[in-house]
């Protein structure tokens, strides 16, 4: 059977070149970068080299990079650490309503710590309005965090404009760029932000590592307490192989970004263009043009996401969904809800996140396999019968 992986939002594959670069550090070069001998020297050198490559990906300086254990940890460090470092100046922070849980739930923890959190709404495309952002800022606002792009619906935010507003008011600005860094051009200077989270399992690097870029001079309270690693800002033995892998993945992403984007948007546009002509009542979610090159997200009306996922999986097709049933918490995606989609439509969420390995053939395969699956589930769906009856009644 054909196997088509279209769940790159969950994690990408690891490129063979990346693994190749990691292997020595999983074998003989196993030293700890803190050690003062040959084994330590080799590990330290690898770390420095990776740091430079990772910094180059986002137009930053190597010493501004703090390696973490994941994108989630980078977001925890940013939100908790930047807010705590400023709590004497104020205890108000601003985030968007469609942040990833690693920002959203971290903000909830800040609420327990006595902070007040404003959640900025988004429009039907998932866009934050910079004017709304400006209005939300108060004298006691110390931190604003708006994600660069949302991976569920692909919408890319006007970060530069939002950052402008925030800066004028003196709060620090963090952006969660897990969905963008390594995928589309990200330059911290152009964005005008103070802190930025990213992770290589979104750009063909390994799991178990992420990074927070922190502009020189921006103070943060460390999140992980312990040893002196990462300039005292993130304790714990460095995950050398994974960091090396992040370095290589960053290097490749920098080199190949243009061609990757061209390839991805071509097959994405094919999917976005043709799917609605094969399946009635399929709604594209997210912004029609300001969106991630690999993201094709839909809501398929009258049926539910998990059942589509499972039937697609039986045809070798791997995708994801923001439906309530696919979430452990059994709540429909807060992103789709914040964009104003009615819950019963959000249940039909189906997210194709395309990757480098995908071809036009893969898209054709999906376009052939999905319609009968949708038909079959609609035949089973009481909502669809009601809709059909309503139409008959109406006509």
């Amino acid at each position: 059977m054909k196997r088509v992986y279209l769940d790159n939002v969950a994690t990408t594959s690891i490129l063979p070149e990346v693994l190749e670069e990691m292997l020595p550090y999983l074998k003989d070069a196993y030293g700890n970068p803190q050690s003062l001998h040959e084994w330590g020297d080799a590990a330290r050198e690898a770390l420095d080299d990776a740091r430079s490559k990772v910094a180059a990906l986002i137009g930053a300086q190597p010493e501004e990079i703090i390696f973490t254990g994941s994108g989630t940890e980078a977001n925890n460090l940013a939100i908790k650490g930047l807010a705590q470092a400023r709590e004497s100046q104020g205890k108000h922070i601003v985030i968007s309503a469609i942040e990833h849980y690693s920002v959203l739930h971290t903000a909830k923890t800040l609420e327990k710590w006595g902070f007040e959190v404003t959640h900025l709404p988004v429009d039907k495309y998932g866009l934050v309005d910079p004017k709304e952002a400006a209005k939300s800022i108060r004298d006691d606002t110390v931190l604003v965090s708006i994600m660069h792009a949302n991976s569920e619906v692909g919408t890319i935010q006007p970060i530069t404009e939002i950052a402008n507003v925030v800066k004028r008011n003196g709060a620090v600005f963090h952006t969660d760029a897990v969905a963008t860094a390594g995928t589309i051009p990200v330059d911290v200077n152009e964005l005008g932000v103070d802190a930025l989270s990213f992770a290589p399992n979104q750009f063909y690097g390994p799991k178990g590592v992420g990074a927070l870029w922190l502009k020189k001079g921006v103070r943060v309270i460390p999140f992980l307490d312990g040893g002196v690693q990462e300039g005292g800002r993130r304790a714990g033995t460095e995950n050398v192989p994974a960091i090396v892998g992040m370095g290589k993945a960053a290097e490749l992403a920098t080199e190949e970004m243009e061609s990757r984007m061209v390839h991805l948007s071509a097959i994405r546009d094919k999917l976005i263009g043709e799917l609605p002509s094969r399946i009635e009542h399929a709604i594209l979610t997210g912004h029609p043009t300001q969106r991630l090159p690999g993201n094709a997200s839909f809501c398929i009306e009258f049926i539910e996401g998990e059942s589509m996922l499972m039937l697609l999986s039986q045809q070798g097709i791997a995708v994801s969904s923001g439906s309530a049933c696919t979430s452990r918490a059994l709540k429909a995606s807060h992103v789709l809800t914040a964009m104003g989609l009615p819950p019963e439509i959000a249940q039909g969420s189906l997210l194709f996140s395309l990757g480098l390995e995908n071809t036009e053939d893969d898209i054709d395969y999906v376009l052939a396999e999905l319609p009968p699956i949708v038909d079959r589930l609609r035949q089973m769906s009481p909502l669809y019968s009601k809709f059909l009856k309503g139409q008959q009644g109406g006509s």
Partner: protein, 125 residues
């Protein structure tokens, strides 16, 4: 490891008794699409026995499998026997359900019960 048992997968992939009964004796609807799952059960009753059971379901794999197995379990039973199809029994017949899917087995039993209630009401009982 798949999150579902083989029995769940079988009933999800080949659900029994999908459909509506035009002249049903009882109809029961449970759940709603906001929560993610919704089931409608249709029954025909003949001499106090469920002579036909059909369903339509909007929902996850578990919801579909639950509907299917409930329809199978109920088919041919007396009303009193059908009343005894509990969520626990449904989950057991399916060889287990993931913890966060237990509510689906509730829905199935409830929708069937509502169909029976509907039948009894129509009978004026």
């Amino acid at each position: 490891m798949p999150i579902y048992s083989d029995t769940v997968m079988d009933h999800f992939t080949n659900p029994r008794n999908v459909g509506e009964i035009e002249d049903a004796d009882g109809i029961g609807e449970e759940g709603n699409p906001v929560c993610g799952d919704m089931m409608t059960f249709y029954i025909k009753v003949d001499n106090n026995h469920l002579s036909d059971v059909k369903f339509k379901t909007f929902g996850c794999g578990a919801a579909i499998a639950v509907s299917s197995i409930v329809s199978e379990m109920a088919m041919g039973k007396t009303i009193e026997e059908a009343r005894k199809i509990t969520p626990a029994l449904v989950a057991k017949e399916l060889e287990g359900l993931p913890k966060n899917k237990f509510h689906c087995s509730n829905l199935g039993a409830q929708a069937l019960n509502k169909a029976i209630d509907d039948y009894l009401k129509k009978q004026g009982k």
